[in-house]
Every structure is written in structure tokens, then in C-alpha cells.
Symmetry: C2
Subunit: 174 residues, 2 copies
């Protein structure tokens, strides 16, 4: 059994969690890695400085590669705003010869801000959260993602179908 990694990147509120959950239900032997799981365990020693956020993503990339190497489909759901960090994760997978799919979960800023599922935009705008991606911290859009999902245009089932098609087109039996 060979695993691989689906890396969902995008703004808070872009739809990563919804897509990750639906994908998990479609794909056997899959496992979601997200901030909620990692920040309370492996990465509980890390804060939100630029350095710590980078280290957070580095570790996620390594753990995803371990899970995939063990035969699991790792579904990673992280804002992961920096291209260099995402590239680092891709390289970790390449070194182990594990497939890595970068999926850009996209919606315009004002749409994400309006959805605000965790109330984080409100907190960031009132200054309660600093360095919030899209407000006072940049989001570097993927230039060559394996897939781009415009969640303001497609519904969830369309998004998941597109992910599954991407896997099939890459020779993965789903």
C-alpha cells in the first residue's frame, strides 16, 4: 500500500477544512493533519512567530511524509502562506519518492473574510491577533499548484470531484 500527500493551502475561510473532511470520507486509509491536531501535540512547543510558523510547517511536512511512507493518505490542511515552506515540504516528499499534490484552495479575500468560520478575521481586525494571513501578513499564492479550487465558484462536491480526478490523472486508483 503506497500513501501520498494532499496539501491544501489557502486563506483562513477558503474552505480547506470542509474539503479535507469530505476527502477523508472518500479516501480509505486517509488521515487529516491540521493545526488543531498538531498545535496541541507535536507542535505544542511552537508559537506564532515567523520562525515558529515555518518550523510548524516543516514538521507537518515531515510527519505527512512519514504517514504516507507508512501507507496512509495524508491530507494536510494548513494556511501555509509561504511558497518556500510549501516547496520544502514538497522536497521532503520527493526525497522519499512520495507523491505530493499541492491544492490551492482559493476564494477572494472578502469572501473568506465574510465566511470567517472561526471568527479570526474579526479578532485580527480588532488587533487581538497579530500577523494574520491576508491582513497584516502576506499569503503567497501558489504559482504552479497541482490543482486550484475556486470555492466561491464551485460547491463542495465539485471541489472533491476535481481532487479525485487529479489523483486519477496521476495514476492513483481511488
Amino acid at each position: 500500500m503506497t500513501g501520498f500527500t494532499i496539501w491544501l493551502t489557502g486563506l483562513s475561510g477558503s474552505g480547506k477544512t470542509t474539503i479535507a473532511t469530505s476527502l477523508k470520507n472518500k479516501l480509505l486509509n486517509s488521515y487529516i493533519l491540521d493545526g488543531d491536531i498538531l498545535r496541541t501535540g507535536l507542535n505544542s512547543d511552537l508559537g506564532f512567530s515567523e520562525e515558529d510558523r515555518r518550523e510548524n510547517i516543516r514538521r507537518v511536512g515531515e510527519v505527512a511524509a512519514l504517514l504516507s511512507d507508512a501507507g496512509i493518505i495524508s491530507i494536510c490542511s494548513f494556511i501555509s502562506p509561504y511558497e518556500s515552506d510549501r516547496d520544502m515540504c514538497r522536497k521532503v516528499h520527493a526525497r522519499k519518492n512520495i507523491k505530493f499534490f499541492e491544492v490551492f484552495v482559493n476564494a477572494p479575500f472578502n469572501v473568506c473574510e465574510k465566511r470567517d468560520p472561526k471568527g479570526l478575521y474579526k479578532m485580527a481586525q480588532s488587533g487581538k491577533i497579530k500577523n494574520f494571513t491576508g491582513i497584516d501578513s502576506p499569503y503567497e499564492e501558489p504559482r504552479h499548484p497541482d490543482l486550484k479550487l475556486d470555492t466561491h465558484l464551485y460547491g463542495i462536491s465539485e471541489c472533491v470531484d476535481r481532487c479525485i480526478n487529479m489523483l486519477k490523472n496521476n495514476g492513483i486508483k481511488v
Copy 2:
């Protein structure tokens, strides 16, 4: 599919790697975590100070719990000389309701020293390695391991059989 963790602890040369490899071959969906894998990836930022060794084991415990939660049998092979570190790993598993079996892989110091599969005892004795467990750093024997394997008394197949029996006695279908 529910995973669990087998934690092999013991001196260098006690037989952890041999047992881990044989167990892996017997157990479907199992994966070995050891120093070689972790130190070159996830834990490549860590050295060998007491603090870093502790952090190394903490992260291994967290990753083993993630793998097990994803349905994998995690076979961890680490000297892990400190009882408090092993207990920390056990607690991480207990919090997630994942079974954790501590297996004390035991052989007398002089036997391990003679086996010296990696030539590390020689290097430690000549002073090329500092803080080497059993020489200038302590090994705290498990007081209540789930299983103790005396590898100077039993052969490899006997050791593996005893591991498998331990699992069966704990309601795990192998």
C-alpha cells in the same frame, strides 16, 4: 482499523533493531520509527544534549500516536533511557485512547558492549562520543514494562513470539 504502539527500549546493542524488523515483517500495516529515520528528518534540528534527547523522544511519542491514530502499528526503537520520557509518551497515547506497549529489550551491559553492532561502544570508550547510555549516561530500567525480553537468553523468534503473545493477551488480533 485501529493502530497501537510498541515501544522498544534498551541499551545500544540490546537487540531493538533486530526485534523491530522481525515484528514489522509479522505485523501488517506496521511502520518502524527509529533514530535513523527521525534524526535525518523531523528531528534533524536536534542534537544530543539532555534537553534535545528529551525533545527527540517527545516528538517520537507524538508521531507514533499520530501514526497509530491513523491505523498504523507504530514500532518505536529508541534507547529512550529515561523513565519520565517513556511515561510522557505513554501519556500522549492514553490521552488519545491508543494502546501503548513498553517492551524492555534487555541484555547485560557487557553483552551489549561485545555485540557493539554500530561500533558505538568503542567510540564512547575512546571518548569520541560523550553522554553515551550505559557508559557516561544512565539507563533507567523500566520498572513495570509490558514485556521484558532477555535477548542474551532467548533467540529472535522466541522474542518475537513473546511480543505477539503479549498483543494477543491484550485482545489484539494478530
